[in-house]
Symmetry: C2
């Protein structure tokens, strides 16, 4: 993926200390980009010294390259203004967000503030500085209840979204579309992630949830490592082969490479583009558990409990537009996802705080 | 409408110097409420002295009552916090917003910032102060393209909204619904306005657009008074009786009384309620022009031009839920709307700046 011509192109990555952000930065550095990372440590572990977060220290070690880091909150417009005065960015990858679905229903104002107001602040600062290339970390949750499968980018959005987190992603997509329509000098890429899992194959960086995991695979991994007692499987009576929910899991390294691939289209003006980032196929909860047991050699105790409100039976995407336009598709399979996740979890049973 | 039991109940009205806000305050004062009004003067005329805006000076004169005013911007969280420390509000009527459809497409970030972030700031400040009764000035624009007529409150929302202004209203509705679901101690009323027109029957307060009017009737009135040369009628080939667009126009005094009526349901806990505020019937552009000519005795020169993107043929609401639950319905007819608008426009050809 590396292209020496990208060298010296400076990319701002927000939420850079987090799960997706840190994996993106690793791939960006490997591809020859320079990176400024910012994070407010809402979801990421800060370093004791208050300088480089642990995840990015490890990214530097893995890549043998340096990245610049600032603790910046998207709600602090003055900090953002300073950031754009200090650096001249080629483009922005905006990963910063609160992302826990359940929590978003409990404290919606915090989610709307962080994710919507935060993005507006970032866009205003970028606009004022003339930085008009923008990649947004969106989510397949904007599609709501699937009306057909696989879900392509033309699928309706914004209808039947069951939680405030998903609504913040949809609102930001609408804001970005209106912004681009109002000012055609913007180039904006919306990446709709399916379900990111796994970790870098080194097992040195990975997903490090603060508190009980919200997503299936970190939960599975924490059960396997003995940090949690038992997995709850929400519903086994869905209309799927084994009755459990089916989702499109995408290896986070593939996802990160999708961001690097996306940046290449900034060489020409295009306006606004939307890409699904997923594998194009679904696995059930029990298939994921079984694959993880095989990869880890650990049993994963689980219990079937009733369905959870807002969950759909089956969801997977059509990633063919990304393949056609970005030359990107997933390279890693289910075994890779499980093996790399287990490597991260077993080497770092308590996440980044394990290594210190 | 007055109820002595309401005396001493203090209502915060945001956007209080504006068109709907000032008419609401007049009716609130007449009904015995106390009022604190705030405005940032984005759409309203500030007084030379920097104290009470001209619209509210006239409201005080008309009602022979006082209201308290502060210049506060919804984007200034510190000002909002001070406001809630200074006063103990019974409830909030949130009218403050940028509201020009065309402008919203040109400067969407400003619209999202003012209308969405501004409302989030207000809700956070109110929540922190324990003020959990909230009335939101929404708009029938959230219904998008009508799927049936008349539009009742169960009509789908959020699909086919053609401009950022309308999207900000829909986003705030979603935020309010999520907030109420997360904390059942909130009581929230969403009022979906159809097309407010006219003015107080005294002609002393009215709609005072800064720059060319965005809406039909202020434009008609400014043509009649000689301030504008000619009305443009966008499309005469719609599937309507005379080919021009049909809308549900509601007299602003009826609309304001709808707010006072709505406050009565705060006596009991109800969660979240949504009400259409409209007359339940539509008039075409040419019917409105003709009625205005009759009421004013002035000719209104107009020219038919092509349709405008995003306009629908016909839109009118079903206000029967508001009648049933709030005991409110429109009392004023088309002649009242035109006569009162003309009184305002002819007495104040340049709006509030005429009187100074």
């Amino acid at each position: 993926m590396a292209a020496s011509g990208d060298h010296g192109r400076l990319v701002l990555v927000t939420g850079g200390a987090g799960y997706v952000g840190s994996h993106c930065i690793l791939e960006l550095l490997n591809a020859g980009f320079d990176v400024v990372a910012v994070d407010n440590f809402a979801n990421a572990m800060a370093d004791d010294t208050g300088k480089l977060p642990e995840s990015l220290k490890r990214v530097e070690a893995l890549t043998d390259k340096k990245c610049t880091f600032y603790q910046v909150d998207m709600l602090d417009a003055a900090q953002l203004k300073n950031l754009f005065q200090k650096h001249s960015f080629f483009c922005i990858i905006h990963c910063a967000a609160l992302k826990a679905v359940g929590e978003s229903a409990a404290i919606p104002l915090a989610y709307y503030k962080n994710n919507v107001t935060g993005t507006l602040n970032l866009l205003e600062a970028a606009n004022a500085a003339g930085v008009k290339r923008f990649v947004f970390s969106s989510s397949a949750t904007v599609y709501g209840t699937p009306q057909y499968l696989p879900i392509d980018e033309k699928h309706p959005v914004g209808v039947g979204i069951t939680n405030p987190y998903g609504r913040t992603k949809h609102m930001v997509e609408e804001i970005l579309q209106d912004l681009q329509k109002s000012d055609d000098t913007w180039d904006i890429i919306i990446l709709r992630y399916f379900n990111p899992v796994g970790s870098h194959e080194s097992g040195r960086i990975g997903e490090d949830p603060q508190g009980p995991p919200n997503n299936l695979m970190p939960f599975v991994a924490q059960v396997a490592v003995g940090r949690l007692a038992e997995l709850k499987v929400f519903g086994s009576d869905y209309d799927t082969p084994d009755g459990t929910g089916v989702r499109d899991y995408v290896h986070v390294v593939d996802l990160a490479k999708g961001h690097v691939a996306a940046l290449k289209i900034f060489d020409k003006h295009f306006g606004l583009k939307i890409y699904n980032l997923g594998t194009g196929r679904g696995y059930s909860v029990l298939e994921m558990v079984s694959a993880f047991e095989k990869a880890s050699g650990q049993p994963v105790k689980y219990q079937i409990v009733p369905r959870r409100g807002g969950d759909v039976a089956t969801c997977y995407g059509d990633p063919s537009v990304a393949e056609k336009e970005l030359g990107w598709k997933c390279q890693k399979n289910l075994d890779d996802m499980c093996r790399d996740l287990w490597r991260w979890q077993s080497q770092n049973p308590k996440g980044f705080s394990s290594g210190k």
